[in-house]
């Protein structure tokens, strides 16, 4: 008995230290604890799968947004690009399938069409920024409207149904009996994004550009090309998320992705990135997306009115940034 308590005391301190340095994780665990106490059904495999699925939509966007924000930019169009890509994919799938094509081929070609659409829109953002010198905020704000408007034009406002039912395999089946495919895809993308950002010259150049565009340029980094690539990457990821949304609901909705851009930015900022660029990482953004996901689903599970969700995300965002500012300011004042 004495030996067992000895072991637990030795583990306690370093774990506490680890958690305090990553206070975001503490907040996340805190939320899970609170919601589980308020409603025991919260702490279940089914609910965590729910949270996971819900979160993947914003999490995948947050991966691309992380690169964009670290480089000193911002992408307000990701929600609309998600919707536009999803609609493009579903329209192609429906058209091909209804003309008696192979359902798997229809799905495959639809996915390619959707991913291409998102990447192209992302590239256009990048080109607007580097060629026409439009500030990222404005360029992507414009794209937000153009893509969302385009989505309504393509569908005349209606949802796209009549999609190959095999989509359910992509959207709802579970690997090993418990891990939904969309969550697996999100995890893989997160690992790839983390690797790209932390282990490659591309990632380092992204940080450098955020720290000082001038320094990056003078060091010989091709900042224009790099910028276009980053926004194209963000567009591609928005398209992946859009396609997964279509797969989950087996429907293409012109409303898909609305307001997701704000949540993706909130996730990245909660995760520790500065909107001025130069700092941030994938772990933080994933944690930020999870906090928002846990919060949103948690509020539903404990029966809080849905409109409080937007208020809650807003409060968390401001709190997270304030805490981060306080931590940085005290370092500066030393």
């Amino acid at each position: 008995m004495i030996q067992i308590s000895g072991v637990s005391i030795n583990l306690f301190k370093p774990v506490l230290q680890f958690l305090l340095n990553r206070w975001i994780l503490l907040i996340l665990l805190g939320f899970v604890l609170i919601f589980s106490l308020l409603q025991p059904r919260f702490f279940s495999i089914y609910n965590f799968q729910n949270i996971g699925l819900h979160t993947t939509e914003v999490l995948i966007l947050a991966l691309g947004q992380t690169f964009v924000i670290i480089s000193g930019g911002i992408d307000l169009s990701v929600g609309s690009v998600l919707g536009f890509s999803g609609i493009t994919a579903s329209l192609v799938m429906k058209t091909l399938w209804l003309n008696m094509y192979n359902p798997i081929l229809s799905i495959g070609l639809g996915i390619i069409a959707g991913l291409t659409a998102g990447t192209v829109l992302g590239m256009m953002n990048g080109l607007l920024i580097v060629r026409l010198k439009v500030p990222p905020f404005i360029a992507t704000l414009g794209m937000l409207g153009i893509a969302r408007g385009g989505t309504y034009l393509l569908t005349a406002g209606a949802s796209v149904v009549d999609l190959p039912p095999q989509l359910v395999i992509l959207g709802s089946s579970k690997i090993l009996g418990f891990l939904p495919i969309p969550i697996l895809i999100a995890l893989i993308l997160a690992i790839v994004a983390h690797f790209l950002l932390s282990q490659t010259p591309f990632g380092r150049h992204t940080y450098a550009m955020g720290g000082s565009r001038r320094a990056a340029s003078r060091a010989g980094i091709a900042i224009d090309k790099h910028t276009v690539l980053i926004y194209a990457f963000s567009g591609l990821l928005a398209a992946v998320s859009g396609v997964l949304v279509v797969a989950r609901f087996v429907t293409g909705s012109p409303l898909a992705g609305a307001n997701d851009e704000l949540n993706s930015i909130a996730a990245v900022v909660i995760g520790g990135a500065s909107l001025f660029g130069g700092t941030g990482n994938i772990f933080g953004s994933v944690a930020g997306a999870l906090i928002i996901g846990v919060l949103l689903v948690g509020l539903i599970v404990v029966n809080v009115q849905p409109y409080w969700q937007m208020v809650a995300v807003g409060i968390i965002l401001v709190l997270a940034v304030s805490v981060d500012q306080i931590r940085h300011r005290s370092k500066d004042e030393l």
Binding site: P201, Y207, A208, A215, A216, T279
Partner: protein, 229 residues
């Protein structure tokens, strides 16, 4: 800027002086690939060249240390020393290429030690270092890349006495290594301390060029602000 001509030789420190707006920055930006001259030729080791970009200039061996140091403040010394020319290593049997952080760390410590530069931690973001330390990182970066022509823009501005002398010592060390240095400074004491030759600019033209040992402070100032005064 108009019709400025000069030569730069290995193992020689050329001072470049001039009042604000004389064209010193414009001139060096043309040599470092930032601006493209409208007229005239640039020769490098006897061959006529076209400098198309900063990367192009660095590839030839022209390194520039700007007044603002052009360091990425959010990155640490190692990352800044290798910025734009990161060392990489292949993984997964050559399928992918990643940053070789270990080697970069070792080499940056080596070069900082060689230059007898003390940086508390090669791993802290450069924004947390002192002015002199930041300057040292910028110089270490240029030296590491075996600069053959090193352009230094106001390297001692905002430095304390000890750090200033350290920078001047580094310039002399560069000269002994056969590096060609263009040294821009408002501080005529520095000019007399390290340069072999001095080129004076005024309002976009070359007002004069003399061997440092054969010109006085007054003569330099007169050429900087124009005769008749």
């Amino acid at each position: 800027m108009e019709k400025v001509s000069f030569d730069s030789w290995p193992g020689e420190v050329m001072g470049l002086v001039g009042d604000n707006g004389a064209g010193k920055s414009t001139l060096i930006k043309m040599i470092s690939g930032v601006y493209v001259p409208e007229e005239g030729d640039i020769y490098w080791k006897g061959e006529r060249i076209n400098l198309t970009s900063p990367r192009n200039a660095r590839e030839l061996g022209i390194e520039t240390i700007y007044q603002d140091l052009s360091l990425a403040d959010n990155l640490e010394a190692t990352a800044n020393i290798f910025l734009g020319k990161e060392l990489v290593k292949p993984i997964l049997g050559g399928l992918l290429v990643i940053l070789d952080k270990k080697t970069m760390f070792q080499k940056s410590k080596q070069i900082l030690d060689q230059l007898e530069i003390e940086v508390d931690s090669v791993l802290t973001p450069v924004r947390d270092l002192s002015g002199g330390q930041r300057q040292s990182v910028a110089i270490a970066r240029a030296i590491y890349w075996d600069a053959q022509l090193m352009i230094m823009d106001e390297p001692t501005a905002a430095l304390g006495v000890k750090e200033r002398n350290k920078v001047l010592d580094l310039v002399k060390a560069l000269k002994n290594r056969g590096v060609s240095v263009i040294f821009i400074s408002h501080n005529l004491l520095d000019i007399f301390a390290v340069t072999d030759r001095v080129v004076i600019m005024r309002r976009g033209i070359k007002a004069g060029e003399k061997i440092t040992g054969k010109i006085t402070e007054d003569e330099i100032i007169k050429m900087m602000i124009g005769s008749g005064l």
